[in-house]
Amino acid sequence: MIVLDSASGGGATWAWPQRVLIAFGCFVLFTVEAGAQAHQPPKVEQDDYLWQHESNPYSGDADAIASGRRLYRSTCYICHLDSGGRGPDLRKSKLKEKDFMRVVISGRKGTQMPAWKGKLSEDEMWKILAFVQAPR
């Protein structure tokens, strides 16, 4: 069951995470209006973060998923458990890949989701995402 959208389609379909991210003041975000965005690339996409990958290089990679599972266990699990606890069930997340990553990197203000930058490398975060995306 892959519940995360692939990033290849471009624009955002869900405004909430963007608002959250705007609230962070960390990123300049997609400005595309909902509804018209499906086939348009985002007009602006600038992060003060230099991405190594634009989409998950580890999707479906068994070794990366296994290591993502281990990482998930030592970081995410304590709140998100297998299917949600204090934090939501990540497999049900509707965030697009990079938005998911942004939340992991910078946290989510007003919630208990902390910033993982400095604690996990981008590579490790992508592996966690690969595990979350993988069928279980």
Binding site: R73, S74, Y77, Q112, M113, P114, K119
Partner: protein, 582 residues
């Protein structure tokens, strides 16, 4: 001594006339807290943690007229677990994130607030939410532990920090959520981080200067007593965190502190008793030297922390008065120990169908472990284990009425599944989770929570109040025979101590995860409780959130006091300028 009493009286008198005054107070006063029935100066009201009040105005016959007098928003949607303190007419409370607030205890006028700042990464080392269990007070200062493992001393009068000490580097998984404990001229603190492979310790600071006095590790280094209970280097990440407050017996000059689970959770990776994890230790408060230890759960493999501070009580057993320490444990047993030497006296199960052990040795209290219920580092699930890791009784403090010998114990009847990872999947990295297991709590019936009354000397359960959701609040009992606590459906309630009949309840707006207190001012008895879902219960169910402090008195607020609690509003610069001339 006499002089101190006079001083205290003068302070209280002044406070009654005008705004609350902030008076000096000494550690001698804290020792005599039991005689001071009107204030609540120590986490457990008295050093014995009985949470029993001799105040008599509110009783079973009039509790039905208990009404809110004032309330205060704690300004967050996270869990609140604190016990308020009241001294010289001022109430000191912590909300989530160790925010400290001081109020006029009569009317809720906010005197000051203080909020620590944190790194956005801090949450990566908080297993169980940004909770805090309260402050300690001595002389002119208020002491609070921050989530990033600092001890901060604030001025009572205005909340301004006087000094702070970094207890540890939070980036290595060390945090702090407990209430500090003042003993003589020292502030005693514990740390959290049992899920992050920390090595637990209790530490004392000089209360005035903040200078470190002593540190005692709960897990011994090689060569220290008990080090033979740890194979190889396992002691280095051995856990035994000290995330709650303690108890103090001034006559015996012993400080009691509970310790948490060993790390990682997989017991087969650290074969041996793993002292002093999941234990009660008694320390010399002057030197920090461990005088004795009692281990509730040797080689714990179920996350059965033993942190809940003991209640110290003198109990008649076999015609003899015994200086006892009582503790209701996560592992499902209520322990009665001799607090002079840590000797096991007896224990009784608090929940039904305990299956991780077939029972405790009647002489030593050592559990006879049911090995089929011990999860190993083999990837195989073990279930259902009873009780689940939340207990039994988790951190929330019980109450003990020394006049009737009855303990009022919040317990939960539920189960868990544990699946230990394989050794290759368990790696210690500083600041990362070092549990080594997956866990899942399970329901075993319609209801989970049970508030139970236990006649300790006669080993008899008297009554219980069932609750659909787990109980996670502390308990207060009073001389008049009332028991106060709260549930996850937002109800703060009073039960009759004799029968367990609920005589009064009030909807506070969110789940209750904190501990009630009572105090008297200007001849009026008040009861206070913090309400706010969060912490561990928020793992299992959703409900309205929001931290609020509620204060009650008989017949509510006297008409002449209405409006007395309005606070000074800080207007935002330029936001409400007068209408400009056209």
């Amino acid at each position: 001594m006499k002089l101190l009493h006079v001083f205290a009286l003068v302070c209280t008198g002044l406070g009654a006339v005008n705004a609350p005054s902030v008076c000096a107070q000494s550690s001698q006063e804290l020792v005599g807290a039991n005689a001071n029935s009107k204030e609540w100066m120590v986490y457990g009201r008295t050093y014995d943690n009985q949470r029993f009040s001799p105040l008599t105005q509110i009783s079973p016959s009039n509790v039905a007229t208990l009404r809110p007098v004032w309330a205060a928003s704690l300004g967050s949607l996270d869990g609140v677990e604190a016990t308020p303190l009241v001294k010289d007419g001022v109430m000191y409370v912590t909300g989530a994130y160790s925010h400290v607030h001081a109020y006029d205890a009569r009317n809720g006028r906010r005197l000051w607030s203080w909020a620590p700042e944190y790194a956005p990464e801090l949450g990566t080392v908080l297993c169980c939410g940004p909770v805090n269990r309260g402050v300690a007070i001595l002389d002119e200062l208020v002491y609070v532990l921050t989530l990033d493992a600092r001890l901060v001393a604030l001025k009572k009068v205005d909340g301004k920090p006087v000094w702070e000490q970094v207890i540890d580097d939070w980036k290595n998984g060390v945090s702090a959520t407990g209430a500090p404990l003042i003993v003589k001229n020292k502030v005693i603190v514990g740390i959290a981080g049992g899920e992050y492979g920390v090595r637990g310790y209790v530490r004392a600071y000089d209360a005035k200067s903040g200078k470190q006095a002593w540190t005692t590790y709960t897990v011994p280094a090689p060569g220290e007593p008990g080090s033979d209970t740890w194979p190889g280097d396992t002691w280095k990440t051995g856990g035994g965190a000290t995330w709650q407050s303690g108890a103090f017996d001034p006559q015996l000059n012993l400080l009691y502190w509970g310790t948490g689970n060993p790390g990682p959770w997989n017991s087969d990776l650290r074969k041996g008793d793993n002292k002093w994890t999941a234990s009660l230790i008694a320390l010399d408060p002057d030197s920090g030297v461990i005088k004795w230890g009692f281990q509730y759960t040797p080689n714990d493999g179920w996350d059965y922390d033993g942190n809940n501070a003991p209640v110290l009580a003198d109990i008649k057993l076999g015609g003899k008065v015994v200086k006892a320490a009582l503790q209701s444990n996560r592992n499902g047993f209520f322990y009665v120990l001799d607090r002079t030497d840590g000797k096991f006296l007896f224990a009784v199960p608090t929940v039904e169908n305990i299956n991780w052990t077939s029972g405790l040795d009647t002489k030593t209290g050592r559990p006879n472990v049911n090995e089929a219920m011990r999860p190993l580092a083999d990837g195989k699930p073990v279930l259902p284990i009873i009780p689940g890791l939340e207990g039994g009784t988790n951190w929330f403090p019980m109450s003990y009425n020394p006049e009737t010998g009855v303990a009022f114990v919040p317990t939960n009847q539920w189960a868990m599944a544990l699946t230990g990872y394989k050794p290759e999947d368990i790696k210690y990295e500083p600041g990362k989770v070092y549990m080594g297991m997956d866990y899942k709590m399970h329901r075993t019936g319609e209801t989970i929570g049970r508030l139970k009354a236990f006649d300790v000397a006669n080993r008899k359960w008297l009554w219980e109040i069932k609750s659909p959701l787990p109980l996670f609040a502390g308990v207060l009992s009073t001389r008049t025979g009332l028991v106060f606590t709260g549930d996850q459906q937002g109800f703060f309630f009073a039960a009759e101590a004799r029968s367990g009949n609920v005589l009064w309840k009030f909807q506070t707006g969110s789940g209750i995860n904190a501990s009630p207190i009572t105090y008297e001012l200007d001849g009026k008895q008040y009861v206070a409780i913090l309400s706010g879902l969060g912490g561990d219960p928020s793992f299992y169910f959703k409900g309205p959130k929001g931290g609020t402090l509620w204060v009650f008195a008989l017949n509510g607020l006297a008409p002449d006091k209405a409006g007395a609690g309005s606070w000074k509003v800080d207007e935002i610069d330029g936001a409400l300028t007068p209408v400009p001339n056209q």
